[in-house]
């Protein structure tokens, strides 16, 4: 009887241990990491020049202040040239940072980005430690959203269809963002090329049946450069590879030359807001 009790107890403990979590925290020894400069600059016509210059960190480096405050690089010389003009972007006294829409930048200029569609904008950065980075981009024309329609089902819930005419005979790239009711509810965010264009030369973006009467669909379409398209996809691939057992992470395709990585690009935005009635 005693032996049987021992036997069943051991068996019970054995299976109990098997029920433990299949996920656990572990220690991974990463090699010494050499920091890189990271550039993030988006030009939008008639908006001020802004740029964020940071550096990367070792993955397990401690966070002393905040994720962004730890990595700001505020002592570089940053210029953007276009035509005959050389515009210097200054740190905003270090703090507070420039705030543009809901984003922070540590370099800026009072000047607005001119609507020069055939003129290259050249970025040059020289950091205090002598590192140099450069990149170039051009403004792209706006691509209009043809129409936004709601299609309702039997329960009166609707999905949103957004139709965009893709210009023929040229390669175009887009970033599609869709919001549900307000800018805090991002419903869709992806980049695409125009390979998915239909027979009518239209690209159609659709949502799920999420919309009830009086809900608002906010549709934003950015016409983007191929540089940004490649950067965004490879950046997203790197992010999604973390935690995907089948993924093979790719290098991020950056258009920043020299001693850094990141993106310097133009964005041309089209927006249509429509309420489901």
């Amino acid at each position: 009887m005693f032996k049987q009790a021992i036997f069943w107890s051991v068996l019970f403990m054995f299976f109990l241990s098997a029920c433990g979590s299949l996920e656990k925290e572990i220690t991974v020894d990463l090699p010494e990491y050499e920091k890189q400069y990271i550039v993030e600059g988006y030009l939008e016509a008639n908006k001020p020049f802004r740029l964020l210059l940071t550096h990367s960190s070792g993955y397990f480096d401690a966070i002393t202040e905040s994720v962004i405050d730890d990595v700001l690089v505020n002592d570089a010389l940053v210029t953007i040239s276009y035509g005959e003009t050389v515009d210097t972007l200054h740190p905003n006294g270090g703090f507070p940072l420039y705030i543009e829409d809901d984003k922070l930048f540590n370099y800026g200029s009072e000047n607005m980005v001119p609507e020069l569609y055939n003129t290259p904008f050249d970025l040059n950065i020289e950091t205090a430690d002598g590192k140099k980075m450069w990149a170039s981009t051009q403004l792209l024309p706006a691509i209009s959203i043809d129409s936004v329609t709601f299609r309702k089902n039997a329960d009166s819930m609707a999905l949103v269809l957004t139709y965009v005419s893709d210009p023929v005979n040229e390669a175009n790239f887009y970033r599609r963002m869709a919001y549900f009711n307000n800018m805090d509810s991002l419903e869709q965010d992806f980049v695409t090329d125009d390979a998915v264009v239909g027979e009518k030369n239209q690209i159609v973006f659709g949502t799920a049946y999420n919309y009830a009467p009086n809900d608002t669909a906010i549709n934003i379409l950015y016409h983007i450069t191929q540089d940004y398209y490649d950067y965004f996809r490879t950046m997203q691939s790197a992010v999604s590879s973390n935690g995907n057992p089948f993924a093979i992470p790719s290098s991020i395709i950056s258009n920043i030359q020299g001693d850094g990585i990141g993106i310097f690009t133009s964005l041309t935005k089209t927006e249509v807001i429509k309420v489901y009635e």
């Binding site: 925290e25 890189q36 905040s66 159609v204």
Partner: protein, 776 residues
């Protein structure tokens, strides 16, 4: 290359000279088939040996043998492990046909006598780098969820690694998962797995034998770089109606076989299906009225094997067989539905003809198809994505055995391939949009070969072969010569040394975006841009028979591969009309040492395998052109398998595996991406060179017990299996997680990042299972 070709032509010439010299004596041929006495199944690899002359042969893949000996009376010994040895006195005054039904050994002990080939045959043959399995072996071993899996059994052999925990994908001597030529009754099977690779598509009840060639490839095989997995199905019992089956935790199977015309014709039908979906459907139905009802997706897989044969005459046999495997995943709720299905179809029609006692012909026509399709619909909108490959193959193989010291094989094949690449269709019923992407490609693959296996002396035996293969597609014709050579030097009956060289071409490639083999990977032909992959492998080894019970062998190999394929960074996998533009090309090389000791007779049997190996890849476009280890590069790989017959009706087994963790990529740095207005900021990982980290070492112990009992009808057994018996948490993948904390900022709760940590995820804890098997 020209020099190699000259050497091979010279060797074939030498062989032919030997043959002509041999013709000067009066010789006659005994030929025929060797079958199982109980069910009529042809037996592959039966040894037929004349002890006086020390000459012999073995039955081929169709159970046929041909042995030419001097005129006179000879005593021939027919032996096959697991069967009674049969001695026949034959008087040869003319060519004779002799068919033999060999009786299975009656002792219960023979249940653990597992090898199809005797050790002597392994010592004697020129073939090296081959692993042979019988189903008795696979059925005695522990199995995940009780599902006997021949591919997972092969993973326990040296030089063969798995694609990861539970995976039935195999990687042979540093090759890729797509570089295995998997043949089911001679029809290629492109994705022989279920459930994303956790189970193989082969029903063990229908399979007769499995041969895995890791190197020294015979000239009749071509088309893949790294291995040949030749699976033969049972022919069907031509003596009496019989059946086998089983009920397991996740699937059930049933096999029926019977004569159509007794001892002339038979059929076998074998089916397996999982039934988890039956329970999930019931749960869904019971819950559908609930307010928070969220249906469980529906998943099941099945496979079906059919085969029939007819003995037309002493000289002619025909076979037809079919294979179907399918995985179905579906989810349907309200207006939204998604269906994801993938699977193989294969069919074989085969004709065996004996022209004369020395010349045997096998003619095969096969059809093979693999495809996957993802269909999704929302209301009037539909979307589907799919890819596939479809082959029609005609193949002829001649076996000419002019003397006991000669075996000449020659033949040819032609394959018509059709590739559907990334077919995307999306449209709406109201015609508001209609998009079709993708392409259909064709290719014709051809091959002719000749090989000659000759015993030059008692000690030296060589096999020389030459294969020419070609591939036409896209206005481009690639072709090449594939020399094959192997030699055996027998120091005595117990010790032999072997060497081999083989060149292989691969014209059909798998475009895989992952390290594992997934159903959504795309088969793609050689084109103007994509050149055929090539491998060259040299191997050498020695085999020792220790006493009568242990065979010890050690092989070393070095393999070079050219034009290996990978995807470029940021490749468009699904919307590219020309997938070839997304490829990058590089090279690979691997080398290793495989140690193997096995025991196949007695109450305790099993083997120990140890492999030390390195596998490298190098692409100009990856890791800045620096070499990197392949994902399945494993420095150490150990398998210990022990089976023991405790009592006549009770056997136990254990399998322990240990291997170095796979090579994989982890980020070493991170940066803060603010992103544009309206998009959330995120942390972007920065990866160093590919596969620069190692998973923790993998090890696992599996146990099983098979208890046989005799019910009122037939035979039964209960198989108890424990997978991962000591509950090791092997790493399936590792990821980095953001640690956050909610703080109060200006009176508002806000989540801030405080650091990062690494997490390890395991897949299978200890998994006990029970399966009831029956036979009648």
């Amino acid at each position: 290359m020209k020099k190699i070709l000259q050497i091979f032509l010279l060797l074939i010439l030498v062989n032919t000279t030997f043959y002509l010299q041999a013709q000067n004596n009066t010789r006659f041929t005994i030929s025929g088939y060797v079958n199982d006495a109980d069910n009529g199944e042809s037996l592959i690899g039966v040894s037929i040996y004349n002890n006086m002359l020390k000459q012999g042969t073995v039955t081929n893949a169709y159970g046929f043998f041909s042995l030419t000996l001097p005129q006179g009376t000879h005593e021939l010994v027919f032996s096959y492990v697991g069967y009674e040895t049969h001695t026949e006195s034959i008087t040869l005054n003319q060519n004779i046909t002799f068919n033999l039904n060999l009786q299975a050994a009656q002792e219960e002990l023979q249940e653990v006598v597992i090898k199809a080939n005797s050790f002597q045959e392994k010592i004697a043959t020129t073939q090296m780098s081959v692993e042979q399995l019988s189903m008795k072996e696979a059925k005695l071993l522990p199995a995940l969820f009780g599902e006997v899996d021949i591919i997972k059994t092969l993973q326990l052999k040296p030089g063969v690694t798995s694609g990861g925990e539970g995976s039935s994908g195999i990687f042979v001597r540093g090759g890729g998962a797509d570089q295995n030529l998997v043949l089911l009754d001679e029809a290629p099977v492109y994705n022989p797995s279920h459930l994303f690779g956790f189970f193989s598509s082969f029903n063990s009840d229908a399979v007769k034998s499995v041969d895995l060639y890791k190197g020294g490839f015979p000239a009749e095989y071509g088309g893949k770089l790294s291995s040949v997995i030749d699976v033969k199905l049972n022919d069907g019992n031509n003596k009496k109606f019989s059946g086998t089956g089983g009920l397991g935790l996740i699937a059930s199977r049933l096999t029926l076989e019977a004569p159509i015309v007794k001892e002339k014709s038979s059929f076998i039908i074998s089916a397996r299906r999982t039934y988890v979906d039956i329970f999930t459907r019931a749960i869904n139905k019971a819950s559908e009225d609930k307010e928070d009802y969220s249906p469980i997706p529906n998943y099941y897989f099945y496979d079906l094997n059919l085969k029939a044969n007819y003995i037309l005459s002493d000289k002619d046999k025909i076979f037809i067989s079919g294979f179907l495997s399918r995985d179905i995943f579906s989810f349907d709720v309200d207006d939204f539905s998604i269906d994801f299905g993938w699977g193989n179809r294969a069919a074989t029609a085969r004709w065996n003809h004996i022209f004369n006692p020395r010349l045997f012909l096998n003619t095969t026509f096969t059809f093979s198809q693999y495809d996957y399709k993802i269909s999704n619909s929302i209301d009037i909108f539909s979307f589907d994505l799919g890819s596939g490959i479809e082959d029609y193959t005609l193949k002829v193989d001649f076996l000419y055995a002019p003397s006991a010291k000669h075996n000449i094989k020659f033949g040819g094949s032609g394959i018509h391939h059709t590739f559907d690449v990334n077919r995307i269709n999306t449209n709406s019923e109201d015609g508001s949009f209609d998009i079709h992407l993708g392409s259909t490609l064709n290719g014709v693959e051809t091959g002719v070969y000749i090989s000659d296996d000759i015993e030059i002396s008692d000690a030296l035996k060589i096999n020389t072969g030459l294969r020419w293969s070609g591939f036409a597609n896209d206005g481009k014709f690639y072709h090449g010569l594939e020399p094959r050579f192997s030699a055996r030097y027998a120091f005595n009956e117990k010790v032999s040394a072997k060497i081999s060289y083989a060149r292989m071409f691969q014209y059909v490639h798998l475009a895989s975006s992952s390290g594992a083999s997934l159903p959504t990977d795309v088969w793609y032909p050689s084109t103007k841009i994509v050149q055929p992959e090539i491998s060259d492998q040299v191997a050498g080894g020695v085999s020792f028979l220790l006493g009568d019970k242990f065979l010890l062998s050690n092989e070393v190999y070095y393999k070079w591969t050219q034009r290996q394929i990978d995807f470029k960074d940021g490749a468009e996998l699904f919307t590219s009309d020309n997938l070839a533009e997304e490829f990058v090309f590089g090279k690979g090389w691997s080398y290793g040492n495989e140690f193997y000791i096995e025991k196949t007779e007695g109450r305790t049997t099993g083997w120990i395998g140890y492999t030390w190996s390195k596998t490298w890849r190098q692409f100009d476009a990856i890791s800045q052109g620096r070499k990197f280890p392949a994902r399945n590069d494993r420095r150490h790989d150990i398998s210990i398998v022990i089976m023991h017959q405790l009592k006549p009706k009770l056997s136990i087994s254990a399998a322990w595996v240990y291997n170095t963790g796979i090579a994989y990529s982890l980020p070493v740095g991170r940066y803060y991406l603010q992103d544009i207005s309206g998009a959330p900021a995120q942390i972007v990982p920065i990866y160093p060179d590919r596969n620069s980290f190692r998973m923790p070492a993998y090890h696992r112990l599996d146990l099983s017990m098979v208890w046989k009992f005799t019910p009122q009808w037939g035979e039964s057994d209960l198989s108890f299996s424990v997978y991962n018996a000591y509950n090791r948490r092997n790493a399936y993948f590792i990821y980095f997680e953001e640690k956050t904390e909610t703080v109060n900022i200006n009176g508002e709760p806000e989540e801030i990042t405080t650091g990062f940590s690494a997490k390890q995820v395991s897949l299978f804890p200890i998994i006990p299972s029970i399966t009831w098997n029956f036979k009648f």
